[in-house]
Amino acid sequence: MAGIQIERVTKRFGPVTAVRDLSLEIRDREFVTLLGPSGCGKTTLLRLIAGFMTPDAGAIRVGGITLSTPSAVVPPEKRGMGMVFQNYAVWPHRTVYENVAFGLEVRKVARAETRTRVAKILELVNLSGLERRYPSELSGGQQQRVALARSLVVEPGILLLDEPLSNLDAKLRERMRWELKDLQRRTGITFVYVTHDQSEALALSDRIAVMHQGETMQYGAPRDVYTRPANKTVADFMGLVNLMAGRVLRAAGDDSLVAVGGNHPISLALPEGLAEGQAVQVAIRPESLRVAALASGPTTDTRAAVPGKVADVTFLGNVIDCHVTLDDGSRIRIQVDPTQTLEVGQRVAVRFDRQAASVFSG
């Protein structure tokens, strides 16, 4: 019903192209996150979906009905969507009840029904009993819930959320995150969620669209985006990652060899289009590497490990953050089990989990 088709949409502001020829398909009842650094165009895309902006090219359709083209835009008030803003935008001159009831008043819903629906939605967001308060008498988290309730009470098919949790403190953010997810499951509303916080995106979404400079870099399930980043930008944005310079020794699909860390061959899976002798970058997360003391003498499986020297060890509680200098002088970061004892200067073997490594042309 309320699936969204975004077809080759472009939006420019003077010389800046905020959204560039972008296409995205959002399914009904899906929780999709637009993830990217500030200025990547994610908020612009959200406002295009809401109808606050006119695209310069392309079209936006909802449930097969065209809402936005460069020549005609259905205004926001006719779209029947909901939107939650970063600063909540709860009206300070209206009580909680009046805030939430507004959308129903506009729709000319009978007073008695308005009352029951507002009561129900306030219960859903845990605000029962605060109907007569003014926003200035509420905490940030409560205001956030008023904003949510106000959008949900009109039962929109689509809810747009623009960094709704970024103004909350860390603890509350975590709780609201869970509540949002739960709310989406229970209401069956399509959520389009904008954030720059990758952990938020991973925790909430059915699918994540990673955006960069107005384009989608990757669109997929959180696990895929995290473990199989489509390119360096995505890998970098999705969290801590080591990028190691290397060279292809043998290009043979899953059974390829790449030289890293001073000409040590490692067995890795290569994507299509990389040839022998080509310079590449190997992206691997700190938690996908293991460190073992380097036994003197030949090791069994040299094709899964690279030798190096421990440069720095930092105890972080749940993990140990360990920096290892490889033979070519480059440094990589490894998270190891806190029970392991490592000493600075010690020679170690850094083991690769080949499933977790991605290779990009360098």
């Binding site: 809401a50 008030e77 803003f85 600063n87 507004f102 506009v106 959008s151």
Partner: protein, 569 residues
């Protein structure tokens, strides 16, 4: 060592506090007290006779009613003009926004008595230029407008007060976060519904607040009320008080009426503050997004036409009239055959009264602006940077003059200084005291705002790196606060150079001021020299604003000095 530093710090606080308290006592509290005493006493004996007469005699009740009617209608007209202009400038895509803004600024700085004189030239019942044109050329005497009436007075006054509403409404409209309105829109509300349900309630406190300030200002303006009201027999509180100083002066009755006047003003200002404080939703300088401008299409030309109409009535007509009169040998003869600069020569060089008046006003305005900013800095510093007891009281005391119309300040000062052995009555000193007292709130507010913007940590950094209190103040606080203080200085200088309401009771032939000279010349019927002097006044004001704007900009180079202070010391 730390203990010694701490003790010295406390001592500075106390010295500053003592100076501020003394100044406020002398400028405000004691004169006010002696006026209050004067209103309830006669020859040293307590009596309520003055209040009985003030509230019982038809003469004064009528004046009170006229003042209220004038204030209310002026407030209404100020909203009617100010809000559309504010909306046009901050929310629509009309062209020439700077021009609209400038119209409001010029209207604000133009002394209302000059507008009044210009409008008398245009609309006096018989000789007014436009009235003559309508009657004799167009032949429709029914369309003439008699400026000597309550309507005339309201019109002229509102041309001076609408900028209060305009400025407050415009800044409120600009600072309403766009998401407030977009939230309503996405919930299905159209443009009109959004405006009524969200925008209007959010900016209403600012509009109302502007209207109340317009009200307070309107009823206090002596010049326009005398020039337009007296011939039209529309007597108001200031003109009645003025009349009571004719020989023999009736100080007691004047004081009683002045206190009633103060009561009205204070109630209005109290409402304004309370309403604003309780219902101020607009967050200034917020990080939220700016509202999108409404694309008006063809309607914008109609909106612009309204703005141009305001410009014509408020700025163009009065200034053109004054300019034309000032260069005519005799107003009313053929214009192009009678061009002359003789009136300028007369007021600038030949007539010693006007010459003296110009010098006096320049001196008084400069001194008053400097003194108020200085005193304001002391009070502001005590309030923001010390924990000294009674600092809030001091801050409040410095705001008292806000509730005192100019003529009331004069009444109070006269009462006080006539009882003192120091013979300053009739000198420039008493006028300086009046100006300084009147404008102290402006100085305090500006200084307070300027200091508030400076995070104490900046000063503390300087102290930690070894700079003493004075050095810190000189190289950190002052440079950072300078633009704000300069704005405050200008804020006092401009009204002081044109001050009439207090000066009219305090001047002598030696201490005559610019505005009083204009008024006196007008009273003698010397239209052309009056117009010339009016233009001179405006040139001085414009030059002062231009100069101050330039100097103020140069003073913004503060932060680099802070760096120097914190790094090198």
């Amino acid at each position: 060592m730390t203990r010694r530093a701490a003790r010295r710090h406390v001592r500075i606080e106390h010295v500053v506090m003592a100076i501020s308290v003394l100044a406020l006592l002398l400028l405000v509290v004691l004169p006010l007290a002696s006026m209050v005493w004067g209103s309830v006493s006669e020859a040293g004996r307590p009596t309520l006779a003055h209040f009985r007469e003030a509230l019982g005699s038809r003469l004064y009740v009528q004046a009170l009613r006229n003042s209220l009617v004038l204030g209310l209608w002026t407030a209404v007209l100020s909203i009617a003009v100010g809000v559309p202009l504010a909306w046009a400038v901050s929310r629509t895509n009309i062209p020439a926004k700077r021009f609209v803004h400038l119209t409001a600024v010029i209207s604000y700085v133009t002394p209302p008595y000059l507008t009044a004189i210009a409008f008398v030239n245009l609309f006096s019942p018989n000789a007014g230029l436009i009235n003559r044109f309508v009657r004799d050329v167009l032949g429709v005497p029914g369309l003439t407008f008699n400026v000597f009436s309550m309507s005339g007075l309201v019109l002229v006054t509102a041309l001076h007060t609408f900028p209060f509403v305009y400025l407050l409404a415009a800044s409120a409209l600009e600072s309403v976060d766009a998401s407030m309105e977009e939230s309503a829109q996405i919930l299905g509300a159209g443009r009109w519904r959004t405006a009524m349900a969200v925008t209007l309630p959010l900016v209403a406190p600012a509009v109302l607040s502007g209207a109340l300030i317009a009200f307070v200002n309107a009823i206090a303006l002596f010049g326009s009320q005398a020039i337009i009201g007296l011939p039209g027999r529309v007597f108001t509180l200031p003109t009645r008080i003025y009349a009571l100083f004719d020989y023999p002066p009736q100080y007691g009755l004047a004081s009683a009426i002045a206190l009633i006047f103060v009561a009205i003003t204070v109630v209005a200002l109290y409402l304004q503050r309370r309403y604003l404080a309780r219902r101020s939703y607009v967050t200034l300088g917020g990080k939220g997004s700016r509202p999108q401008l409404v694309a008006l299409g063809a309607v914008r030309w109609a909106v612009l036409a309204f703005c141009v109409a305001v410009f014509v009535v408020a700025v163009l007509a009065p200034y053109l009239t004054l300019l034309a009169v000032s260069v005519s040998k005799s107003w009313g003869l053929g214009f192009w055959q009678n061009l002359t600069l003789q009136h300028y020569r007369f007021v600038l060089f030949e007539y010693d009264v006007t010459r003296r008046a110009i010098g006096n006003s320049l001196l008084l305005a400069t001194a008053a602006a400097t003194l108020t900013v200085l005193l304001g800095s002391l009070v502001g510093w005590i309030d923001l940077r010390t924990g000294i007891r009674g600092r809030k009281l001091l801050d409040y005391a410095s705001l008292i003059p806000l509730g005192l119309p100019g003529i009331v300040v004069a009444v109070a000062l006269i009462q006080f200084w006539l009882r003192m052995p120091l013979p300053i009555y009739g000198t420039l000193v008493i006028i300086l005291l009046a100006y300084t007292g009147r404008y102290v709130p402006l100085g305090v507010r500006s200084a307070n705002a300027a200091f508030r913007q400076i995070d104490p940590s900046l000063e503390e950094t300087a102290r930690v790196t070894g700079a003493g209190w004075l050095r810190t103040f000189r190289s950190v606080t002052l440079p950072l606060a300078r633009p704000g203080l300069f704005a405050g200085w200008l804020l006092v200088f401009v009204p002081a150079i044109q001050e009439l309401s207090a000066s009219i009771l305090l001047f002598s032939s030696e201490s005559i001021t610019l505005a009083v000279a204009v008024y006196n010349l007008y009273e003698t019927g010397a239209l052309e020299p009056v117009a010339a002097l009016a233009i001179v006044t405006m040139v001085i004001i414009t030059a002062a604003i231009g100069l101050a704007a330039r100097l103020g900009r140069a003073g913004v180079a503060g932060p680099s000095r802070v760096e120097r202070a914190t790094v090198t010391q």
